[in-house]
């Protein structure tokens, strides 16, 4: 065996620990889910819902799940909760994903009424969907790589109104939970919704302002949401310009 063969043999015998592989896999699946949803929003049929489709792009699980309670409650009191979702200027929510109780992913999603969405997945990845600029920017922070891509389907008012009509017409059932909770110093009423996606529990204060939501309590994967309505979000927060210090990643060589 010559020197190069020996060097190669030593180099090739290394394999990553399973924990490294699994950790990377969790992050990958969350990122792919977000970007697959972005791509879906660009397809004409699915983009018919306008900016909501764009919104659903980056926050795949989060926004999709957020969407569900809108149309699931004929109860009058629950309608007040729907109004908050319907009328917000900006919305920010933190999502925790747990697997059998173990925290596997944290993300923060920020949404504006006109369809801009920014999703920060941990400290690793940010996906920005800017409906005004019709661009998507993915930032990979550790490697300082920025990958821009077009958002093909423009957002329109008509689409937005169609989405609102969909929500208003939706029929479902919301069950008020018997016991109240205190969340961030506010008394919160719980609502249980049976949806196609599973059981959702949504907590809102006495004014119907949604505070928290949980999904999948009886499944191995649980999601919890912590809402903040109408926070101040600078337009720069949704900029799809490549930030200083980042190099442009290309889809094709």
């Amino acid at each position: 065996m010559n020197s190069l063969d020996r060097t190669l043999e030593l180099f090739a015998m290394r394999e990553p620990d399973l924990a490294l592989v699994n950790g990377a896999q969790h992050k990958l699946e969350a990122l792919v889910a977000a970007r697959v949803s972005t791509a879906a929003a660009r397809r004409p049929v699915r983009a018919a819902r306008g900016w909501l489709a764009a919104a659903a792009t980056a926050a795949v699980v989060a926004v999709a799940m957020l969407w569900l309670p809108f149309g699931s409650a004929p109860v009058l009191a629950f309608a007040k909760i729907q109004e908050h979702f319907r009328d917000f200027r900006t919305l920010r929510f933190d999502v925790e994903q747990r697997m059998d109780g173990r925290l596997v992913m944290e993300s923060r999603v920020s949404v504006t009424y006109d369809g801009n969405v920014r999703t920060d997945v941990g400290d690793d990845v940010t996906v920005i969907v800017n409906s005004t600029e019709r661009r998507v920017l993915t930032l990979m922070h550790r490697s300082h790589v920025a990958i821009p891509s077009p958002l093909d389907k423009p957002a329109t008012k008509e689409d937005a109104l169609a989405w609102l009509d969909d929500i208003r017409d939706f029929q479902g059932e919301a069950k008020a939970l018997p016991k109240a909770r205190w969340i961030r110093g506010q008394r919160a009423q719980g609502w249980q919704l049976a949806t196609a996606a599973g059981e959702i529990v949504l907590w809102a204060n006495d004014e119907g302002l949604p505070l928290e939501m949980s999904l999948g309590s009886s499944t191995p994967i649980q999601l919890s949401f912590d809402f903040e309505f109408n926070p101040s979000l600078d337009a720069k927060y949704f900029s799809t310009e490549i930030p200083a210090g980042y190099s442009r990643g290309e889809s094709e060589d």
């Binding site: 180099f11 699946e29 792919v32």
Partner: protein
């Protein structure tokens, strides 16, 4: 200019997003391992793994004969690119802290293996990218020349020539290092 790998991926549309999510679930670990073998660091390997699937979403391939071979090929090419960028950066800023991958091996890793890894990464970054990719896929990932050729859009003979050329270049680099 597109590489044959990505040109073939972009040429045919087909794989739906849901399919790519399924591919990520099934082959994500394969891709991570392929990148890690070349790069030796968690963060860099994760970046490559994510880029592989982001590219699939942006340019879904149509017909792929072997997904593991295809994905391993893309991961290898991106890993080689990463090594080349790293090398360029070091050439530009030699006095700055080096961007070596963080060690995932135990501290007790023997010096000989560590030196072998350092040499191979540095040397691969200096090769023609296609030759380096063929060499890594053949000798590090253990892919057959036919599978490499199918994934890269090259003939089996072309792959063998590339592997041979890479080997000769690596031997020359090693000899040069020894003579210093």
């Amino acid at each position: 200019m597109r590489t044959p790998i990505l040109a073939s991926a972009a040429a045919v549309s087909g794989a739906a997003g849901e399919d790519i999510a399924a591919l990520a679930r099934q082959y994500g670990p394969v891709v991570f391992r392929a990148a890690w073998r070349v790069l030796g660091g968690r963060a860099a390997a994760e970046d490559v793994q994510q880029q592989v699937f982001l590219r699939l979403i942006e340019s879904p391939p149509g017909k792929v004969e072997s997904w593991p071979a295809y994905l391993t090929t893309v991961a290898t090419r991106l890993s080689i690119d990463h090594l080349r960028r790293q090398r360029r950066w070091k050439l530009l800023a030699p006095l700055w802290k080096s961007d070596e991958p963080e060690p995932d091996d135990s501290p007790a890793e023997d010096a000989e293996r560590a030196e072998a890894s350092r040499f191979m990464r540095a040397a691969l970054a200096r090769l023609n990218p296609r030759d380096a990719s063929c060499f890594v896929m053949r000798h590090l990932h253990g892919l057959a020349p036919a599978a490499i050729g199918a994934a890269l859009g090259l003939s089996e003979n072309h792959v063998s020539v590339s592997v041979h050329r890479a080997r000769k270049a690596l031997e020359a680099i090693a000899a040069k290092e020894l003579s210093r």
